[in-house]
Chain length 309, copies 2
């Protein structure tokens, strides 16, 4: 369990970006929707087919320059089990193209239930002696509100494989402080308390680049906290949402990186997915628009960071 | 948005129990597995068919005496999208039989992503002018670590319908105190802070029995906290896990109820599902065993509570 494969992808592409795959029908070109509805019907199956087709176009346009994708489970569940099948197929396609897949499910539970989530999203399940891969992601986002009981089942199941988790620490949204910024017993904040747990949970899963397999989600919208956390969590890799659409810029995310330009991967979802709509591209050029935006973002980040590694 | 339909189910059956549907293959009679593997193959599809068949047997045995079921998403996701289809079909079957369905997903995210989860599990989704029900639960468990941004999208989408949410407050596991019991700024604990938010979030969703549509998850394993929270959260309905297999008994859960015997629903998952294994029933009698255990549990609870309502 570690983030070595993610880090190697970042080094290879010289790009610390993850592309969020959060497809809603309104982001998807009409021509794709029309074709899928014609083939599968104007229903959940047709919608799910459109999601998958859209994602494949994005992956084809990105896989050589962006090391990772982050499908957000909610957008697939919204289209029923048919949508969840599209999540499965999206993960499989991205992995075929060599991308690192972070399944953004923010899952949380305890004991055997958390083991079931770990099996679902990172592991293999046994069916009467035969083994199957339910979803096959490389990493999973998780919520640590339930404490160690919610995290250790992931460590156990993942240590056998090259998998990782990202624990929510300081999220990018406006109201994240309501709970996360409260000061607890010793003076630390709630998010800082969770952050310190990440270092401890990660101890037995250290990879060869100095980062463990237990990462942390820290929002781009809170650069001071990014800076504070980078300093006290030397072995915790960061997943940083909130760049772009949520208001975080390149300068805001710089504190997430270590001096080598490693230690963080920056997510952009709508910025890349919806570039065709935001920049006035024709809909058939949605993948081209996504690639252009991904290159712009990479160049902006690397312009500040310099050579990574 | 409220828990009126759940409360009416409790009054009708005189039973404040919810049956957890957390099916693993190892809980399912071999004869069901064999028949499903013969029909669908020894694969995820066959496993998912066995889950559904098992659940249907349980629902048939329980629907007239137990008002609600709580399928735990993890156990379905563990068998891939095929398992998630079994979740959909389980929810549909339970609703057909008049049961209230609490989808236990502990979902959490912000803004449009949380809206997508709300749509997925409690609402309807539009596909080019036609509307579909992705999963169709009556209530969803959610994790409030992200603050109000993670909860208000649920309120908005649910107010139009008779739906509810249960927010994790004090969970039943051993390590729940690591974060939840820390004292914050004013001296309150983290769980107490979340609990007070529940009362506020629920204000606009009051039902006719004096409870809002925003409930709280409070574990049976912490009776003191149950008692404390019942007192300060007069309009918050409780979902209480941890009875039975996790060690909570009837006396432990009593503080969760108001003087009328309302205000809480007590979950039993393995206790009911696995009664046939625990009590040495023949496997073909698994549903009968589940019914016997559900009656035993009901009688134990109502023996302490008296007439409900």
């Amino acid at each position: 369990m570690s983030f070595d494969r993610l880090i190697e992808g970042i080094l290879r592409t010289q790009n610390p970006t993850v592309a969020g795959l959060d497809p809603k029908l309104s982001y998807i070109p009409k021509s794709i929707q029309t074709a899928c509805f014609a083939q599968y019907g104007k229903n959940l199956e047709g919608a799910a087919a459109a999601l998958l087709e859209f994602n494949k176009g994005l992956i084809d346009a990105l896989y050589d320059i962006v090391p990772a994708v982050k499908p957000q489970c909610a957008y697939y569940e919204m289209y029923g089990w048919q949508g969840v099948k599209a999540l499965h197929d999206t993960i499989a396609y991205a992995k075929e193209k060599g991308m690192f897949v972070i399944t953004d499910g923010k899952r949380n539970d305890i004991g055997t239930t958390m083991e079931a989530y770990a099996t679902a999203h990172l592991g293999e399940v046994e069916v009467d002696g035969a083994w199957f891969t339910p979803f096959g992601g490389d990493a999973l986002t998780v919520n640590g509100y339930l404490g160690s009981d919610g995290i250790t089942p992931l460590l156990t199941i993942c240590e056998k494989q090259e998998k990782g988790i990202f624990v929510l620490v300081k999220t990018s949204n406006m109201s994240s402080g309501e709970l996360q910024n409260l000061n607890v017993n010793g003076g630390d904040t709630v998010y800082f308390t969770v952050a310190k747990h990440c270092e401890t949970w990660g101890e037995t899963t250290m990879g060869k680049y100095g980062y463990s397999g237990v990462g942390a989600v820290v929002g781009a919208t809170y650069p001071e906290q990014l800076s504070e956390l980078r300093e006290v969590l030397p072995t915790t890799f960061f997943l940083v949402p909130g760049y772009g659409a949520q208001g975080g810029g390149a300068d805001d995310v710089l504190p997430a990186f270590d001096p080598k330009g490693l230690g963080a991967v920056i997510n952009s979802s709508r910025g890349i997915m919806c570039a065709w709509q935001k920049k006035g591209f024709a809909e058939q050029d949605y993948a081209k628009a996504a690639r252009e935006e991904a290159i712009r973002m990479r160049d902006e980040l690397v312009g500040k960071l310099g050579t990574i590694g």
